[in-house]
Symmetry: C2
């Protein structure tokens, strides 16, 4: 299996690259065909790649920032974890999750905007920086809202940010359409640019207009403005889910015209895969380093204290911080391995749909909570009830982070012809291996959770064992999967001749897929 | 000028893209020509692009992390800034700068390693994650060293990290050479792979071996181990500068054989431009959001306090934080605009040399200090001596951050044929504009610095004026440069006929450059 698979996978990647090249060269050859006069008086038209990478980095930092107030909440040792957790869960964690959602909504609209405008110039780069500044301010207004829900200041500030953001985005669209060489090639060659422009402006201005009403209602009856804001954020998803359900129920599938491709809220609309990756990388990187940031800042002992309390022994002084180091290594490894799974998954994804993006957001939101959970596991006395609960919470968080990654894959399998590389599709050669990779963390976390329920005395040992074995399990996963398959074969059909293995069967099944038809 | 320039620039970018494609298709066609048996039994060979992007994100966070202890040092209002600054400057800022340097050295070695190994598989990805974990731990060991210079624990930990890092890197090289399809194409087709392998292993193992000696010496005579570590870090730069000076003095230019290209410490050795950009983006993104992280965490007032002290008025309570918001917007704008300048510069850079990378590191190290400086400017009473000094420090930091960006450009101009796009080379069409962009911040910062010296009463106003005008100056820079050139022409040669403008002269000069010879 291995050699052929290898060749084909590489060939596929090559073909994918060629595809990219083709699109690109289409773009550039089009650029050449446009006469200079059409391009107006602007030199220094630039590819938007790096601008978008920088924006993704900024947005991913901002999305995860509200985990810091959660992480830095001191949990008192004497009071029960449950009580303090109630305070935590009701406000700070809610703020974190909502911020994450709001920021990712802003990010999705940023993606759509720069799917229309594909080239930038200095002016657009500066306008984009202004957008970024407003987006980075959103979490703060949101935490004001959460802390003072009855005060209108938070909501007014939030609406003001959103309105200015909408206006700048509208300005970017108007600017882009006044210099058509900046636009997406498909719109550039289209004859009804004016229609596009109005359609896109209409979609963009919907948000600031609703925010305007929300801020006006906040003066009269502030509860209503929260409702309006919730509608702003969730409407696209709700309306699309409803439409989808109706479509499934009645059986009437509404086809969107191809012309609207770039500014709809379709659930299976493609998101830029590169940007989903860049955003996820940013979140994983921030989360992986959250604990070392704290360690570097707080856990360098004071020389005077070391002299007085530990009679000059630095090692003894640092032993107090032992649990912090352990938490750091544990959370870095877990986040790193979840990144690794994510990386493997998106390596085989050809196109990310909006729904997959939403699942990815959920997964990342749980990943953000990981360092906090790991830190909690070491803050309580050994074998206390608090420790057990902290460990169980960690297991639950790991489970959901991994589970939503698995859900991305399942969602991708539902329209596998468009979204997945043939090798990981149902029955493909890498299918089993990918499934094993994706289900390793959820299974292990679930197993650890239930075993801590029964063996509550050994909960810490079970958790540490999990931390240590999982990296090795990933290293040896290919062997384990083969071993597991062989074992299954041996158990269920022991008299089947050995060489006719499951893998070969898969290969045959694979051969039945009309390979070329799918690729092109 | 504009229309022709436009066409040519776009054409150039197109040509650049084609060049990339050619290299890539060389790579992929080579991959196809390798027989499957040569590739061994491994499927899922992957492009290393995303792994490197994630590593860059992690390393850029870690490089800037030591600014947090500096930023969170509380400066007392009653004591003079100078005194507290002495404490700050001598330890924390030194730790920050040294950490930045050490982490960038580790990053540079990571670049070199993955210039040799161009494709990855699961095993390499996991080994790389282990490397990352060790690199993220370096700042902490370093701050232990700085806080307890006479205790050997810090240096032993640092050496241990470096040794394990070196061993894992050696393992990666051995693993890569055992699966040649993972290697750089040039090495892959070369006949003396074994020679390469030994050469690279020799270079990599130099660091852990020296660290080993350093840790042994630390037990006997710990000052010596600091010397050895300093040599480890600076040796490549020092030896290369000496070689370069000798070469210039004697006139004998030593040509490195092309075969050694990938593992030398040549100052004009190409660094991967993409990775320099990704790393810089990461640093800019972290630094731009440093203040909002603090604001989100600390500046949400307590509901009880608001009720008691401000009789329920949230606006009044938030007014206390006014200076923090101002500092945030000021630093975000400045960092954003410095990113913008960096982006414009690297848009015109074809190849980044190691020396340009070093200058870039210096520039980024100053950028990291910006939020701190901006925060300081608002922490003191109006018109106090402390405020004046904080503002002057901010100006100095902005000046150096911009100055080193300018230095990158000057360094690039020294070997402009290899490093720069023809349009920004000396005498090129965009030359003046690029120079104006790069010198705007240093000039403004210098101007602000000297004007605060003379008009110390208005220092805060001058500083705020600078913050507000600079973004507009960037927006209108093209107009300003043209106006300035016209003014110069009018002043120095008023009788010259108007249409024969400086820009046209530049164009003529440009025409003299053998265009095609350079591109190909």
């Amino acid at each position: 299996m291995s050699e052929n698979a290898e060749t084909d996978i590489i060939e596929h990647h090559v073909e994918e690259e060629m595809e990219k090249k083709r699109t690109r060269s289409y773009g550039s050859s089009f650029m050449e065909s446009v006469t200079p006069s059409e391009r107006g008086g602007h030199s220094s038209t630039q590819s938007s790649h790096r601008l978008l990478a920088y924006s993704d980095a900024l947005i991913s930092i901002i999305a995860t920032v509200m985990i810091l107030p959660v992480a830095h909440t001191k949990v008192q040792d004497n009071e029960e974890l449950k009580e303090s957790l109630q305070v935590l869960l009701t406000t700070k964690i809610a703020v974190y999750l909502m911020t994450f959602l709001i920021v990712t909504v802003a990010w999705a609209s940023h993606i759509r905007l720069f799917q229309v405008i594909e080239r930038i110039d200095d002016c657009l780069a500066l306008m984009n920086l202004a957008c970024m500044m407003l987006i980075t301010f959103l979490p703060y207004t949101f935490s004001l809202m959460a802390t003072f829900p009855e005060n209108i200041l938070g909501i007014v500030l939030f609406c003001a940010c959103d309105m200015v953001l909408g206006l700048i985005q509208a300005l970017i669209v108007v600017y882009g359409f006044s210099r058509p060489f900046l636009l997406n090639d498909q719109i550039q060659v289209s004859e009804n640019q004016v229609f596009y422009k109005h359609h896109i402006l209409k979609v963009i201005m919907r948000v600031p207009i609703m925010c305007f009403f929300a801020s006006i209602f906040s003066l009269i009856f502030f509860q209503l403005s929260y409702v309006i804001l919730a509608i702003v954020i969730f409407l696209p998803y709700i309306s699309q889910s409803l439409k989808w359900c109706r479509g499934k129920a009645i059986g009437q599938v509404e086809e969107t015209p191809d012309s609207m491709l770039f500014y709809t809220y379709q659930l299976n609309e493609p998101l830029s895969k590169e940007r989903v990756e860049a955003f996820s990388d940013g979140v994983f990187a921030i989360v992986a380093t959250l604990l070392i940031l704290d360690i570097c800042e707080d856990n360098v002992p004071d020389p005077a204290t070391v002299k007085e309390q530990y009679s000059g022994s630095l090692v003894a002084a640092l032993q107090v911080y032992g649990p912090e180091y352990l938490a750091y290594f544990g959370s870095f490894t877990t986040v790193g391995l979840l990144w690794f799974v994510h990386h493997s998954l998106f390596l085989h994804v050809i196109k990310a749909t909006r729904f997959m993006g939403l699942l990815n957001t959920f997964s990342l939101a749980f990943v953000g909570g990981l360092p906090l959970a790991y830190q909690l596991t070491h803050e309580f006395p050994r074998n206390s009830r608090n420790e057990l609960e902290a460990i169980q919470i960690s297991c639950v968080i790991i489970f959901f982070a991994g589970f939503f990654q698995l859900a991305i894959w399942v969602a991708a399998l539902f329209c596998e012809r468009e979204t997945l590389h043939p090798y990981v599709r149902y029955g493909g050669r890498e299918h089993t291996f990918m499934l094993a990779k994706l289900s390793l963390y959820p299974c292990v976390a679930l197993g650890a959770f239930f075993s801590t329920c029964f063996l509550s005395k050994f909960s810490a040992s079970i958790f540490h064992l999990m931390e240590i074995t999982v990296p090795f399990a990933f290293l040896l996963l290919r062997l384990l999967v083969r071993g597991g398959l062989a074992l299954l074969r041996l158990m269920f059909c022991p008299d089947r001749p050995e060489p006719r293995s499951v893998l070969e069967e898969e290969e045959e099944e694979e051969a039945r897929v009309p390979f070329n038809a799918v690729i092109t």
